[in-house]
Symmetry: C3
Subunit: 426 residues, 3 copies
Amino acid sequence: MTPAGPGRQMYALVERLYPLCRSITGDGVRATLDIVGEYLPLQIHEVPTGTQVLDWTVPQEWNIRDAYIADSTGRRVVDFAASSLHVLGYSVPVSATMPLAELRPHLYTLPDQPDLVPYRTSYYKPDWGFCLAQNTLDALPDGDYEVRIDSTLADGHLTYAEHVIPGQVPDEVIISCHVCHPSLANDNLAGIAVATYLARALAEQTPYYTYRFIYAPGTIGAITWLARNAERIEQVAHGLVLACAGDTGRLTYKQSRRGDAEIDQVMRHVLAASERPHEITEFTPYGYDERQYCSPGFNLGVGSLSRTPYAGYPEYHTSADNLDFVSPEAMADTLAACREAFTLLDRNRSYLNLSPYGEPQLGRRGLYDALGGRSDTKQAQMAMLWVLSLSDGDHSLLDVAERAGLPFDTVAAAADALRGAGLIKA
Amino acid sequence: MTPAGPGRQMYALVERLYPLCRSITGDGVRATLDIVGEYLPLQIHEVPTGTQVLDWTVPQEWNIRDAYIADSTGRRVVDFAASSLHVLGYSVPVSATMPLAELRPHLYTLPDQPDLVPYRTSYYKPDWGFCLAQNTLDALPDGDYEVRIDSTLADGHLTYAEHVIPGQVPDEVIISCHVCHPSLANDNLAGIAVATYLARALAEQTPYYTYRFIYAPGTIGAITWLARNAERIEQVAHGLVLACAGDTGRLTYKQSRRGDAEIDQVMRHVLAASERPHEITEFTPYGYDERQYCSPGFNLGVGSLSRTPYAGYPEYHTSADNLDFVSPEAMADTLAACREAFTLLDRNRSYLNLSPYGEPQLGRRGLYDALGGRSDTKQAQMAMLWVLSLSDGDHSLLDVAERAGLPFDTVAAAADALRGAGLIKA
Amino acid sequence: MTPAGPGRQMYALVERLYPLCRSITGDGVRATLDIVGEYLPLQIHEVPTGTQVLDWTVPQEWNIRDAYIADSTGRRVVDFAASSLHVLGYSVPVSATMPLAELRPHLYTLPDQPDLVPYRTSYYKPDWGFCLAQNTLDALPDGDYEVRIDSTLADGHLTYAEHVIPGQVPDEVIISCHVCHPSLANDNLAGIAVATYLARALAEQTPYYTYRFIYAPGTIGAITWLARNAERIEQVAHGLVLACAGDTGRLTYKQSRRGDAEIDQVMRHVLAASERPHEITEFTPYGYDERQYCSPGFNLGVGSLSRTPYAGYPEYHTSADNLDFVSPEAMADTLAACREAFTLLDRNRSYLNLSPYGEPQLGRRGLYDALGGRSDTKQAQMAMLWVLSLSDGDHSLLDVAERAGLPFDTVAAAADALRGAGLIKA
């Protein structure tokens, strides 16, 4: 499987998902999860409207069939059928004819990007509206317009999905991505695609950790998952939020609120060791669902991997975040970085030197060159000495690798040899 | 009250105090406190000679009426009436006629600054002497001189004063300045003036902390206060020593011995945020009465604010530290910095997020914009998210502001809003 | 005793030791310790073959009388008599005639340094061999060669020695050097010489710490010492491994595994304060016997002082590490640095201020100038104030010196004065 392979496959998945009108509830999410389910068995959860989840309440379910603004000739000048972005998310139904002046307060545009359609929602304040290009608006003559939003807001469910890859230990790594944005390719169809192919790759062999993939609507979905998994939280050892995973910018890792979580160290190490151009940023309480996982009550070791980060590109939350904005190569690169990180995380263990008084005699165990006096001691032998020196319960193998300036793989192999010889234990 | 207003008023107070001959005891201190008492009600303390105070003993009280050196014609060539600096502080009485050669060991000059009169004392070794300009000394012909110091050293009292502004909590902030230097304007009449006008400003509304202003002789006065307030020490939460507050140099904040006391963080922040040119220095066990407050047994969170610091200017402890050396604008600026610092300190609290599991739903509490999807989230909303994220008992609002890179006022306002909504508590 | 004096004396000692064929056991070590014993009374320890020492076993004793390769004319083309390096350390006896092709696998050369003879050993894998210059090898015609190594490998003893200088307290400083290398001047005859003259210098007066000098074979010797001194380990407060102490490169101090041990701070301070060009390096688990002393079970505060460090020079472990490679001046400089370090370490104590509330009145104890008002307070007075300020049990005198920016000697003298006045106690 070459990088280009999964890149093209992930891009094809993004293309399939792009036209769907997703929101924080409704059939768009279900259709999205149905498609992902073709790639990966998913456990679907439906949580009823009105369910209390932490400080929040699951809202009514929103579904939409059609929406448009038509001029006096009946021509649809703004049409939901052309793009799911055209309707204000969670718009209440409306069916009326009104002059442009009366319609204007319900129209959202981007005056500074007059060709683009913005993405706007009103989840918790009942409202209706349309999003359109400023140029489109400017071209509308005064006069009466027919306005119609054929939507329903009714008791129903919030939908999210999980996919679990059982590991050798019950300790979990959660990989979370949001599935609530309509026709926006980078935010977050690329994240969904990378998560999906990462799950497939991890399943190729039994990983050390149990990996849980969470596909959920932003904010309310993550909050719902947290509310329903109170007993599981203490098993969550590490986590990563995937978002904006497909643009051609460089990778950005946003550290967990802790800043010194193991996932933070691993991502910093992997991105630096790979010599990819990249950026490491501090935690902020804004962005994607790391906001929830890292809220002070949970304070999980969950970071966030993006390419160009949240709100960091002009196409963000506009119709320009389309299929041209993401690339197979970029998604393949994000996936590769994830695989490198979780491969390392999965091997990163702290050992205890069982022979800590003086050096154990490696030579009689076949772990050391018999010929003395040479100065070109091999990296593998240095790695063994470093592992022995730092295996005091306070240092992980990654700590050893960073302290020794040796590749992690060399250190992990040395640890394997030492463990095989009974000199260290986990 | 414009900055120029209090600047001129403080300068006028310095002018009134300048001629008085202060020392560590005596009527000069009393006269000084009488004048300050016109601006601020003071509680005067008189501590008898011989009182044991920590490792020290209150010395005899020194008073002086006249002192001069007269030549053979009776002309006073050095005259206490012209400047209180001319007599060695705590000089024992003397009345004699002697040749210049015999007089010389009792004469103090500054050979490198031949026009200036030095300031010298001999508190604890009985001695007498005169301070004069080197040029004056050089012009004295040989011959006999009449030497007279009409002073008394006798059992009496050490005098210091307090002014207390009751706060909402009994925890105290102490503001301390020394009142023992004779005719030196910057050291420390400017400090006395700034302290006095700071007290007046703080009294305009009930502050959070109780503020205690201490006007006391250097070293022995602070030691006396500490000895007599053993039970109060644990209530002293923060403190500031004010000295050299009126020269035109930039502000200098000397950190407490702790270095990480809250007053240190506050002063660093305020001086940096105000974009004043300034300097932050480490604690040293030399300088003003921070030496006593920060002695290892007390180790209080007390820093020191000066403009050009202790011994850092050529006019220091000379007759050139006169009314021309201080300016209304400089004192107004020092006062303004103090007010900014204590306004911030008074609002700087640590809160506990009462809804720490996930983000609380700010929208339904009217604390968050209803319209989703925009990237221009307001600073006020970011401040609320930061306060929620860091209100874990380990972070003050100033910690939040510094971590978030937001203005303290914005963060404090966010905390007020969140507290009003019942989401955080102190 | 000028630096040149001990330099020449140490060089003379190196010259005497140079020809001996040392190994990890055997008469070469004994002869070496006999010579050192002429300079310093040594306690010799003989540990029988087969003794279990930590994870190791004392090996058979190796002795060698003669070894050579002779050509068909009987000419010795490689001769142990010319240099102890020519035989592979711990070679088993051999007496045979064989063609060059058969001999080749037993010949060790340095192709990149064709004039030099390498130093090679095979302690734990029974083998035999010769070390020679590549040029010598290249000049050997094909044909039969007589090969003879007149060695014995038999049950015997491992030999090491100790020299103890009793101190005022039982807490020990160990100075360790390896004595197992044959004719290599810098590695480690210079270390032996510096250790020996350091011991002589320290004995001139009773030091504070008890100093224990350990002359032992590398690795197995240090391990043997550690195994036989389990009850003593907790008395080892500090230590230094001396190696490569005589080349003309700059001094290199390799920190202990702890990195913040007192010996680390002392060596860093002394090397910086002396303004010698020098290098401070982090601990690595490779090098000399700091590997054993700093193994995680012991984790002693033991650093290592060298000039050019382990394997850091092309002459390392070759015949070029000869008497020309070390100099009297370099050894004198290493010795001087050691003396400075241990003089400081010996005086470096943590005190407790017995008058910690306010400053004690130094003046009435004669510790402070009586004349007040001057700004040129003497360094000695500043040092007293700093010692009082930081004598809270958490700061050593070296901490004080570094924090105050004062010379250690000034600070130590201030502490002596304060202790004399009963103001601080150890």
